[in-house]
Point group: C2
Chain length 340, copies 2
Amino acid sequence: MSEYLQRRLLLMRLIPRQPRKKSAPELYEELTERGIETTQRTVERDLESLSALMPLVRDERSRPYGWSWTTDAPLLDLPAIDPETALTLRVMDAHASALLPPNARHRLIPYMERAETVLEQTVDNVGLRTWPDRVRVLGGGPPLQPPALTPEVFETVQHGVLERRCLDVHYRSRSRGAVTKSYRIHPLALVFREPVSYLVATIGPYRDPRHLALHRILHAELADEPAEDPEGGFDLDAFIAQGAFDYPEGDEVTLQLRLDDGTAFHLSEAPLAGDQSLTPLDDEGCLYELHATVQYTARLRWWLLGLGSAVQVLAPESLRRDIAGEIQRLAELYEVPSSG
Amino acid sequence: MSEYLQRRLLLMRLIPRQPRKKSAPELYEELTERGIETTQRTVERDLESLSALMPLVRDERSRPYGWSWTTDAPLLDLPAIDPETALTLRVMDAHASALLPPNARHRLIPYMERAETVLEQTVDNVGLRTWPDRVRVLGGGPPLQPPALTPEVFETVQHGVLERRCLDVHYRSRSRGAVTKSYRIHPLALVFREPVSYLVATIGPYRDPRHLALHRILHAELADEPAEDPEGGFDLDAFIAQGAFDYPEGDEVTLQLRLDDGTAFHLSEAPLAGDQSLTPLDDEGCLYELHATVQYTARLRWWLLGLGSAVQVLAPESLRRDIAGEIQRLAELYEVPSSG
DNA sequence: GGGGGAGCGACAAAAAACGTCGCATCGCGA
DNA sequence: TCGCGATGCGACGTTTTTTGTCGCTCCCCC
């Protein structure tokens, strides 16, 4: 029966993209491992005939020749991506562009190009070419620009986290001045906080995890030494909860707010919590009271404060005092006249 | 030469995923269109032998049998996704989960599962299985929950936008009460604003574009009538800029802020604009002044206000007055004592 | 009831794919 | 510098698969 197709399909999947490569003997090995009986000669022939059809390249600089897909090889996906999925991918990408450094999205280019092609064809069928004019993502976060990374850094760091290997990095420390230091670090995890991406790692012989902003890593290189977790293991959630990223986990509190009608409407659409309740305070429907059980986090506080006078915090008392104090400081800062 | 592989590969790509289907004669047609000379018999044979290897199904309920991939057919991508890309996809998805309704991401499940598989294998090689514990995305936007959508609505609406066909929708209008109305609408564009997704469309015979929140569309059905743009065309950016989503485009202003050191540090990492400058105001480095050319938007205002007393707006004067006014209202609301 | 399209079994010719062998080449270590 | 082993590759005859064609049957729809 048709060994042919199965073998070539598997073979194509085993070939990596360009910086990496695999030799014919290697590929032969992997094929037999996966239960395909063949000869190395056949594999060689397969590679040759495949390279006539697809963007495969052979690196002949060193003797066991290495095969790989070209960097710009278009994505060939089975089953092919459908227009709806392509659209979803695009929306996700549009959104991620505000969050991830450009280098991080670099790897997704073939996927996005594929999505683009599919969308264009769809639109073409209907006689239009105005696709990109039909979707927008409006960000809700701070209007900041993601910092640029040294091109290779993201890749290398990703590699280190994925393969659990140590990294040698040059790090421009947070303290002022352009002082850079070199460390050998044990990568533990990746954390993305709105525009900035962080690597969590232990540094050199020390055992306490730290976070390094990726854009402050000027150079990174993979070491051979395998990365080790600190004794007792590493719990990323606990690390974040203890406040490492200004995102300390708050206690659960019963939030009580007084809202104007516009804000009440928005919150009825996208609630703060599953148990949220909204009740009008008067007949005209201009004021509402909201109850909800939420986590008290810094993010919540920013958000409430940002809404300004559209929202008044009634409870918990600690949050109310907190915000009132902030307002007092603000009032002094802006020399607002007395509230009588 | 090897027509074989080329033909079967193309054939597989032409087969759609399950709700859709294509018959052997259709597929034969499309193959010849793309320059592959063959007979319909061969296509039939190909389909049969392929279905032994892959999750293809044949719908035999009506006579020109329809072929499709099963809904859960795993993604077979060439070149295969590499661990770094898989990781990036996961990060994007983690982020999108806070923004898109669950139904929207539904289509990406095969992609995410594929990414998951690749990651697990990678981690396996190194003897670990703790992959999901190594990445987190910390949101910066409001801590709201995306509203739930009627399952089919997102798909149908997407379809309408993509193929430019009218939709018949039941819409629960924004005004209070559970009144729903039915309209025939001409879909124009999709807009995503943090937790809520919108469809921009003209309604019935009217010519002015409106936005409909997707979660308030209770039911949607594709109509045969092709969708039409309003006379004079439709410009999504202009529509947004005119304030349709509380995101009116602001004028460019030269922003001047006084910041505490923590905020200054964050802004030095992720600047507000390309031309941003930051200068310390004293020797201890506790106060900084920032200049940047930015768009004056509501989003900027929320964000500045949310930062509280860590930021003082010095210019433009209009923004300063705006914020000072807001603070005065807040001070009255919270009965903050006089600022002297 | 009949016409046409679709699905499918069979067959023989044609075209590959395959394993094997042998030789040339290259890299590495002695 | 020499030699060994691994790798790449051309050639060849056999084997297997593929492919076009024909014809029969079934089913739907007119």
